[in-house]
C-alpha cells in the first residue's frame, strides 16, 4: 500500500454521523485520510481528483443513481465500496457494494472491515495474477478486432480516458503491450476466435 495511509471518502448527509465515525476511528490505529461528501456528485468529483482506496457511503445517496454507480465502479475497479446502513435496504441495492457497516456496529468492527477491504488488494502482486475483468475483456475484444481507443469509448459509452486506463490494466495483468501481441493472447485465452482476427 502507498505509505499505508488509507484514503477514504465518507459520503453521508448527516454531519453528526460523519463526525461520529471520524472521531471513533481516530482511535483505531488506522492511518486514514478522510474526504467528506454529502452527495453522489461530490463522490464522483473526489474520485476523479484524488487517489481513493475506499468509499463508505449511505445507500440513500445512490437511490435512483444505480447506473451511475455501476459506471463509476467499472471505471476504477480497485476502489472498495462499503454501505453505511441505518436500516434494512433491499438486496439488489446492497448487492452493488462490497460490504456494509451498520450504525450500531462497534468502532473495532468497522476498523477491521476497513483493514480487511484494503488488504485484499496489494496492487502490484495480485494484479499480475488476476484474470481480466469483464470490462477489460470487452475492451480487449474491440481492441484486437481493430477498433481505435475513440471507437471503443463510443461503443462502450465510456470516455477515451477510461479506455486508456483499461488498456493500462490489461497490459499490467498480461505483461503484453502491443495490439498484435494482445491478439495472440486473446486467441490463446479463447476471448476471440481465429476468424474474427483483424487481418
Amino acid at each position: 500500500m502507498r505509505n499505508s495511509q488509507i484514503h477514504i471518502i465518507l459520503a453521508e448527509p448527516s454531519p453528526i454521523v460523519q463526525t461520529g465515525i471520524v472521531e471513533l476511528l481516530a482511535k483505531s490505529g488506522l492511518h486514514i485520510k478522510w474526504y467528506e461528501a454529502d452527495s453522489f456528485a461530490e463522490v464522483q468529483r473526489l474520485i476523479k481528483m484524488e487517489a481513493i482506496n475506499l468509499v463508505i457511503i449511505n445507500p440513500q445517496l445512490v437511490v435512483n443513481l444505480e447506473k451511475s454507480l455501476q459506471n463509476l465502479r467499472s471505471e476504477d475497479e480497485n476502489i472498495h465500496w462499503i454501505a453505511l446502513v441505518y436500516a434494512m435496504y433491499d438486496t439488489p441495492l446492497m448487492a452493488m457494494f462490497d460490504g456494509s457497516v451498520h450504525l450500531g456496529d462497534s468502532p473495532e468492527a468497522i476498523a477491521s472491515l476497513i483493514r480487511h477491504s484494503i488488504n485484499e488488494d496489494k496492487p502490484e502482486d495480485s494484479a499480475n495474477r488476476q484474470p481480466l475483468s469483464e470490462r477489460e475483456i470487452d475492451v480487449l475484444k474491440l481492441l484486437v478486432t481493430g477498433f481505435s481507443n475513440k471507437e471503443i469509448a463510443d461503443k462502450l459509452a465510456i470516455s477515451t480516458y477510461t479506455v486508456i486506463s483499461h488498456r493500462k490494466n490489461i497490459t499490467q495483468k498480461t505483461g503484453i503491450k502491443s495490439v498484435s501481441g494482445l491478439t495472440i493472447y486473446a486467441v490463446v485465452k479463447g476471448i476471440i476466435t481465429l476468424n474474427s482476427v483483424a487481418e
Partner: protein, 244 residues
Amino acid sequence: MRLTNYSTITPDTPVAELVLSNPYGTLMLEHFEVDLMLQEKTVAQVCAEAGISLELFLTVAQLFNGEHNFPNLKFQLTDVQQIISYLKHCHYYYTEEKYPQIKAYIQLLKKFNPAPEIIMLERFFQEYFNEVKEHLEYENNSVFPYVTALLDKLAGRNPQISFSEYEVSDYKDHHDNIEEKLSDLKNLLIKYLPAQNDRQVRRKLLFSLSELEFDLHIHSEIEDLILVPLVEQIENELKRKHEK
C-alpha cells in the same frame, strides 16, 4: 544491479575480467571490432591499441554493466564517427545474425507444435522484423549520413544538407516500440503459448531473444544518451554560426 564483479570500471580494469564475469561483454568487443585473446590488458591498453575513445569505451562498458545514470558525459566531436561505427556493427549483428536465427527457431517451433497460435506468433515476428529492418535502414541511410554531413559542415566543408528537413531528436520514439514487441514475444512464450514437445527449441528461442533484447537495449541507450545529445549540440552550434 551490477552484471560484473566491478561496481565501477576504470581505465585500469582488466578487460578479460569484465568478459569473464559478464559474457555479453563479448558482444561489446565485437561491436568495437576488438578480438579476444585479451591476456591481462587493461581498458586503457585495449583502447590505445585499437584506437578507441577511452571515454566511449568506458561508458559502453558501464552500460553493459547495468549502469543507467551518467550525470556528466563529455564526448568529443571526434567520437561521433566511432559511435556511428559501433551502432552500424550492432545493426549488422541484428539483421544478419540475430533476427535470422530467431526466425529459424520460430520455424522449428512451428514444426514441433503447429498450433494456430504459433502460426500467429510467426506472423507477429515477421511483421515486427520488417518494422525493425525499416528502422535500422532509416538510421543507416538517413540519420548516420545526416550526422556525418553535420560534422563536415562544422569542419567548414560544404556538404549538401538542408536543416529544415528534420532534426535528429525526431527518431527517439522508434526504440520503445521495438523493445516492447520483443518483450511481448517473451511474455507470450513464457506465459501463454500452448506447449507441445517443443521444450528445447523454446528454450533456445528464449535465450536468443534475451541476448537480442540485452544488446538492443544498450544500442538504444547509446543513441539516446550519447549520440542524440552530441548531434543536438552540433545542430545548435551550426545554428549559432548561421545566425552570425
